[in-house]
Symmetry: C2
Subunit: 200 residues, 2 copies
């Protein structure tokens, strides 16, 4: 970045700058924060960075990230195994769990279909989803992919591969976000909200 | 953060979240970026974090951060040793060097006076500045502290402690930033720009 800083400070700025969404100014700020902090702060972040992949694997059933063979949700006998919510990523699962109220299981695809980026169904846990449904225990598959082009295409593909099974396929509702403002909502959102209207 | 993620992923999210300006969502995004990247990405950032303080010290003359006894700027015989620019932090020095055109030396205070936060002149490299000026070689001290309350107070204090010496004390100009818009400038900035007007 500059010849006016010691090389190791410069190196740290560069490494921070490589992270997504961290620009050169933020990288500088973070590096100087580390420089001014106790060795413990840098050490713990360094350790966490190196440790993050240790023992992490996919749940054998739902493919979320876990350190066990089967994740805590799949292992929980109190959850409704007849409903499976399909999400793109583990963080989507976390968001839905945080929202609370959902008591079924999950299926993590690890991505969405994006032909332009060369991501097809074989790159996602699609076959594994069909296999789960084929076992016959699942009565409803809730598609909770992101409400964008890739998410829609992925949802469509799921409904296609599961068409032959005796399973209900639903899509999480789209409409106006809570706290949103109709005036500032985009046309597609308003159209979806109108179409998806329910009795009160 | 959540019980739905393996502890080591959670730990990394927490460590990122501790950094200034990194909220929980950004921390999640960064942690998953590391998780999906090669081991090299995490390893190099971890190494840079641990290495950042190794061998870094203050320049004996200007107190910027360096790995040598005297920094490259102070060591450079081609620079004008009769002019010293006083800055709050090493990053201010870097910004001025990047802007180019300045050929004098620097003096890094490592902060600004902030009585409310308990930061007085004894916490800054003030005595060291007076000592440098007392040597007699310096003809001009340019105060380049930040244009805020703390920076102003610091500048005032510098002019006071150097009052007895035969040295010219100047302040970098304040006015409208390049590319700025008079319409959106604050009153203080406009006032300063008017006061500091120069012939064209």
């Amino acid at each position: 970045m500059t010849k006016y800083l010691p090389k190791n400070i410069d190196d740290l700025i560069k490494e921070f700058n490589r992270l997504p969404g961290i620009g050169p100014k933020t990288a500088q700020r973070l590096a100087f924060h580390i420089l001014k902090s106790s060795d413990l702060v840098a050490g713990e972040l360094a350790r966490a960075l190196v440790d993050v992949k240790k023992g992490v694997r996919f749940c054998k059933k739902c493919f979320t990230l876990t350190t066990d063979e089967v994740c805590g949700i799949c292992f929980d006998a109190g959850r409704d195994a007849s409903v499976v919510c399909v999400v793109e990523d583990t963080l989507d699962l976390v968001a839905i769990e945080k929202a609370g109220g959902y008591k079924g299981l999950y299926h993590v695809l690890h991505g969405a279909m994006a032909p332009l980026d060369g991501i097809g169904p074989e790159d996602l846990k699609m076959k594994e989803l069909a296999d789960r449904v084929a076992e016959g225990e699942i009565k409803e598959v809730i598609v909770a992919t992101n409400p964008n082009l890739e998410g829609e295409a992925t949802g469509l593909y799921i409904s296609k591969i599961l068409a032959g099974f005796d399973v209900k396929i639903t899509r999480i509702a789209r409409g106006l976000p809570s706290g949103g403002d109709i005036e500032y909502a985009d046309q597609t959102t308003i159209m979806r909200a109108m179409k998806g209207r329910v009795g009160i």
